[in-house]
Amino acid sequence: MNTQVNNGNGTKVRQKGEKHYVMIYSRYERFWHWSQAMLIFVLFYTGLGLHGLHNLLNFQLAVTIHTYAALVLIVLWIFTTFWNFTTGQWRQYLFKEGVMKVIRFYAYGILKGEPHPYKKGLQRKQNALQSLAYMSFMLLIGPALWASGMIYLIYDLWSGYAWSSQGLTLIAFVHTAAAYLMGTFVIIHVYMTTTGKTPTHYIKTMITGYDNVELTEAEKAYIEETHAISMKD
């Protein structure tokens, strides 16, 4: 792991660390990721049907699946929000410097065979662009979808108001727009998983939880002492 520490006079010095095969995605995190992925797929597929873009499901079935999947996803998000805060993992999503470097890498460096400008670490599981993308996923696209979705779901509670007709139009608009953004996110996200050392490297990591990351001496000592994180070597 390359940690960047300030040596006091403003220049940054790299400390080289040993690489180890450690679990960077805990069991819950992986469960969250894959169940969320499945639910989003189901919601997107049924949602497209409800929007009238395909007729592969009848409307009643599509509404039923869409609604239950949404409810499950809401529960999952409640748990995950709790998990993110109790474990402190929410810090992973904070803005990091070097976004432009990462963008430059994906636009150009990756083609030239340059190394990724960002090194994964135990506390730095996501690169700067990832953090930004996931942050907007969790703070913009996600909330726009579930907030509009929940208001949509309880339509019958506000359908009696004079503004309900315009309200429904607005809610449907926001929900549809956010769904298109979500779809776009998923396409890019899935593609990005193929940009690791091998095309399936990141996917395997997300399944097993283990990745080869550099550990500082302190991290290594901590892990060996406490076994708080499993390490394969």
Binding site: L50, D156, A172, T176, G183
Partner: protein, 566 residues
């Protein structure tokens, strides 16, 4: 209110056709339309052909009186009024009650619109007017002898108790006056009514009692309503889950509850949304709404679909989903009526053509000299629209602009955002009928009568209209033409079993049943054009972008490998 897209085209072609035909029919009375061949005389012009005269089973064992044991009912009786006298000698208040009923007055003063309605004066889109033709039309008046303005509406002996209360099936009514030769053959050869037997076998009305008139509204079986015809006398469960002869076997009055001979369920003042639902036991029996028995949340509240369906109740009438199609009992309903073609004769005599065979095998007239040409429909998908219960009638006094498209004889109010309306099913009747070209009003036609002016005899619109207007003291310009009209009949019978109710897709789809209703967003039907385009661009752009990126990676990795190797 009614989207005239397709109809506009249709009406324009009709208008051309109309103009063309009028050139002929106005100048040459159509009776001179001689055709060769020996057409049989029109001898079967009964508009109510009731083959099954057995009463429906309606013995709830609740009656505390056996009318065969009443001395006064032993007779002998020579006529209806004599029986009525006997009835009223015990049922002393029944006459007073009944005389308030629309079945007697044929009048309805609308409390909200102030319009004077009722069959007595209204224009309709079938035989156009009962007014002045009572000799024929008033055979569906629950009284004896109304043939002209001299009928005594204050004489209780004129009330016809038996038409509703006969439980033998042997009672029938005939026109109160004989018409012209073309019609005089009607109702001949019937067995005389066995008055004593009928008088002793009275009871609460069965479906055939109400049906004797209401099944045949508009001049024939199923003609008017589409959801009321003779198939409801003994319907299957599929046809009507409530009247199912082998099941619930509801009589009309099970829902159309009665108080002092006044019935719930007015068509002039419809309760389009019953927000009261069920009352406490013994309380809520004053309306004929679905909600008065099924409540405002009739679907299961323990499952998602049920909850969602209950959420529809505020905007969708029960009938909209639960009556998937109308006229599905084997009897057709009339959908088009064109008066312009009336009056053709063969060898100087009227004739009819029966070119429509309905599902129960009966042949229906597609042309009658006395009425014009018709089209029928069965298993019809109703016309849907927002309806707040308020019917707005075009009466004989209403002036309209014939250039503004079809005249709605009974239009209605409603919109998606008034908070009161619900989407209702209607049978929409389309007719081309005469109107006063000079005054832009509808006309009364003198159709029935044993005189030279009656249309059903002379086939002369000009005279029939002139006399019809004169007789009723309505100003007439002297010039008539034909105008397209619509009438709307809210659908509420022929409720299918729940498993046959409409599926969500029927409306929630791009080409669904509610496609013509605009102004509101409906999931599955509507989308945002620009948003969809942007959405496709985003999704497609992302997909193409990553594919290109992947391709470049592949190409460059080969290049890099070659470079590294060298």
């Amino acid at each position: 209110m009614h989207k005239p897209r397709i109809l506009a085209i249709k009406s324009s072609t009709l208008a051309c056709l109309c103009a063309f035909l009028l050139g002929i029919s106005n100048q040459i009375p159509a009776s001179t339309d001689h055709e060769t061949g020996t057409a049989p005389a029109d001898s079967n012009m009964n508009f109510r052909i009731v083959e099954d005269t057995q009463p429906s089973i309606r013995d709830d064992g609740e009656s505390t009186a056996d009318h065969t044991k009443f001395e006064i009912l032993q007779g002998p009786f020579e006529s209806g009024p004599e029986v009525t006298k006997a009835c009223l000698s015990c049922h002393t208040e029944a006459g007073r009650h009944f005389m308030q009923s629309i079945h007697w007055t044929w009048e309805y003063d609308h409390p909200d619109t102030g319009q004077k309605l009722g069959k007595k004066t209204l224009i309709n889109t079938f035989c156009t007017n009962a007014k002045g033709n009572e000799g024929m039309c008033a055979q569906c008046h629950a009284g004896y002898g109304w043939k002209d303005e001299n009928f005594d509406f204050t004489n209780q002996d004129n009330i016809d108790c038996l038409v509703c209360h006969d439980r033998t099936g042997a009672y029938y009514k005939t026109p109160n006056s004989t018409g012209n030769k073309a019609c005089s053959v009607m109702f001949e050869g019937k067995q005389p009514i066995p008055w004593e037997k009928v008088a002793q076998n009275v009871g609460k009305p069965g479906r055939e009692n109400c049906g004797a008139c209401h099944f045949y509204g508009g001049g024939g079986d199923g003609v008017k309503h589409g959801d009321l015809d003779s198939s409801l006398k003994a319907p299957s469960r599929e046809l009507d889950v409530h009247m199912d002869a082998d099941g619930l076997n509801f009589a009309c009055t099970t829902c159309h509850v009665t108080r002092q001979h006044l019935w719930a369920g007015s068509r002039y003042n419809v309760m389009a949304h019953d927000t009261e639902g069920l009352g406490l036991p013994g309380e809520r029996r004053d309306v004929a709404t679905c909600e008065s028995c099924h409540s405002e949340s009739p679907h299961s509240n323990t499952e998602l679909t049920g909850i969602k369906l209950n959420g529809h109740v505020d905007k969708i009438a029960c009938q909209t989903c639960h009556i998937p199609t109308i006229a599905r009992g084997g009897v057709a309903t009339k959908t088009e009526w064109d008066w312009r073609t009336a009056g053709k004769t063969k060898n100087g005599e009227g004739f009819k053509e029966k070119n429509y065979t309905q599902a129960n095998g009966a042949h229906r007239a597609t042309y009658k000299s006395i009425k014009g040409s018709f089209e029928y429909g069965e298993n019809l998908v109703p016309h849907y629209d927002w309806f707040d219960g308020q019917m707005v009638y075009t009466t004989i006094e209403t002036r309209f602009d014939p250039a503004k498209g079809p005249v709605e004889i009974n239009g209605f109010n409603g919109s998606h955002d008034d908070g009161r309306s619900r989407i209702w099913p209607f049978k929409r009747m389309h007719t081309v009928q005469p109107y006063d070209k000079g005054n832009n009003t509808m006309v009364y036609m003198h159709l029935w009568g044993n005189d030279d002016d009656a249309y059903w005899g002379n086939y002369d619109f000009g005279r029939a209209i002139k006399v019809g207007m004169q007789k009723n003291s309505i100003p007439y310009s002297g010039e008539y033409d034909f105008v397209e009209t619509y009438s709307f009949w809210p659908i509420t019978h022929m409720v299918a079993p729940s498993e046959n109710a409409l599926s969500c897709n029927e409306c929630h789809s791009r080409e669904g049943r509610l496609n013509d209703l605009e102004g509101f967003y409906m999931p599955g039907r509507d989308s945002f054009r620009w948003l969809d385009i942007l959405g496709y661009l985003a999704l497609g752009g992302a997909l193409i972008g990553v594919l290109l990126h992947g391709l470049l990676r592949k190409l460059f990795s080969k290049k890099n490998q070659q470079r590294d190797a060298s």
